[in-house]
């Protein structure tokens, strides 16, 4: 079956879909986060060397993965926005930036509170941590650039270029622990090797990662709806939708 993807590129047809999916993924995120925290905080065993301090990985690892992945998705939407000149692609990129910044901030913050008991320091300027801090600044830069430019279509293009340029940082973050001597340990979980942790710990991380994905999808779709309302406020379809909503409430 051939799907006409361009139909979804129109804010008119995407708006109601975003609303339905946002709710479904939000509910799923709540269930998964509850299950993941039960596995992570009660079922998973204590680590032999780090004690219970290691349990911060159930927040740290999913948020750090999410921070990198959201950036790649944002860069991909930005490339589509530049290439196809579609409004919705730029709106998706705009909607992703605050959640990406949140995830990068959480990864850095939880990492600092993990580093203090395990390494003996909150912060060190090693390659992994420095490149993650740059990732946070890139997100903040994209958000700031958007609000600095008055005209939305020009802001779209400027932010798309910045997002694409910053994308080179993501592989640097990911491979930093392999390329250089870092204080941060190497990857415990990778696609090419067996995980270097107990199975229940891995299960907790994977469930929390699924929760982070669902949360991100839910919140970004909800935000993209708000952006559509803000930017298409002069359009006829939106006014008739609002009138229809108001009419059905009475």
């Amino acid at each position: 079956m051939l799907i006409n993807w361009f139909r979804f590129a129109s804010p008119v047809s995407f708006y109601p879909i975003a609303g339905r999916w946002s709710f479904a993924f939000g509910a799923l995120a709540a269930v998964l986060a509850g299950a993941g925290l039960v596995v992570g905080l009660w079922i998973a065993p204590t680590d032999a060397t780090q004690g219970d301090a290691y349990r911060i990985i159930f927040i740290h690892v999913p948020t750090a993965w999410m921070a990198m992945f959201i950036y790649l998705v944002m860069a991909a939407w930005s490339a589509l926005a530049l290439g196809f000149n579609t409004r919705l692609s730029a709106m998706m990129a705009q909607a992703l930036a605050p959640t990406g910044a949140l995830m990068a901030g959480l990864a850095l913050w939880t990492g600092a509170f993990w580093g203090r008991p395990t390494w003996g320091t909150y912060w060190a300027w090693d390659a992994r941590m420095t490149s993650t801090l740059i990732l946070l600044f890139l997100y903040l830069g994209v958000i700031a650039l958007r609000s600095a430019i008055e005209e939305p279509r020009r802001a779209d293009r400027a932010c798309a270029v910045l997002a694409l340029v910053g994308a080179v940082n993501v592989p640097i973050i990911y491979f930093s622990v392999q390329w250089w001597n870092t204080l941060h340990q190497g990857s415990s979980i990778s696609l090419t090797a067996a995980p270097k942790m107990a199975m229940t710990m891995l299960a907790g991380i994977l469930i929390m990662t699924a929760a982070a994905w669902c949360y991100t999808i839910a919140i970004v779709l909800s935000r993209v709806q708000a952006i559509i309302v803000e930017r298409e406020r002069g359009a006829g379809w939106l006014e008739s939708l609002i009138e229809w909503r108001a009419g059905s409430e009475h």
Binding site: G83, W119, G120, A124
Partner: protein, 151 residues
């Protein structure tokens, strides 16, 4: 070629050029991106001598000595090829242990010993419950015993 194909081509070419530029820059800064030097690099005089730097490796088994009257500790850092003696005065992180990873910041004294001002524990990527760790250690001991009895 449609205009949008040309735009995608420009985006692709731009990203490739940027990637190459970043790769060259990172390559040029290779030595500055290193968080610590290994004992072998220090012995080979690759570490800076005029300014403080960090050395990293494993705390050699049986090398930790605590001064009974102060917080001063002596230990040796090894990368299994070379070792460097380290002196440090202060509190050690909880994860500091013989046989485990360590990163120490300080300066190299003329006698070849390292005077640390800060010691950080570097833990590895393995996470396991205490029971599993005991089992692995037991297995290592049994293996060592069978090896020595075969000699």
């Amino acid at each position: 070629m449609k205009p949008r194909h040309r735009r995608f081509a420009w985006i692709g070419a731009g990203l490739v050029a940027l990637g190459v530029a970043v790769a060259l820059v990172l390559n040029a800064f290779q030595s500055n991106l290193v968080f610590f030097f290994t004992p072998s690099q220090v012995i080979a005089r690759e570490a800076p001598t005029a300014r403080p730097f960090r050395i990293g490796g494993l705390v050699e088994q049986g090398s930790l000595e605590r001064d009974p009257n102060s917080l001063t500790v002596h230990f040796r850092v090894t990368d299994t090829a070379q070792t460097i003696p380290v002196t440090y005065t202060g509190l050690l992180p909880d994860l500091f242990k013989e046989g485990k990873g360590v990163v120490a910041q300080g300066t190299l004294a003329p006698d070849g010993s390292f005077h640390a001002t800060e010691v950080l524990a570097k833990h590895d990527e393995n996470y396991m419950p205490p029971a599993a760790k005991d089992a692995i250690e037991q297995a290592h001991k049994t293996k060592a015993m069978t090896m020595s009895s075969m000699k």
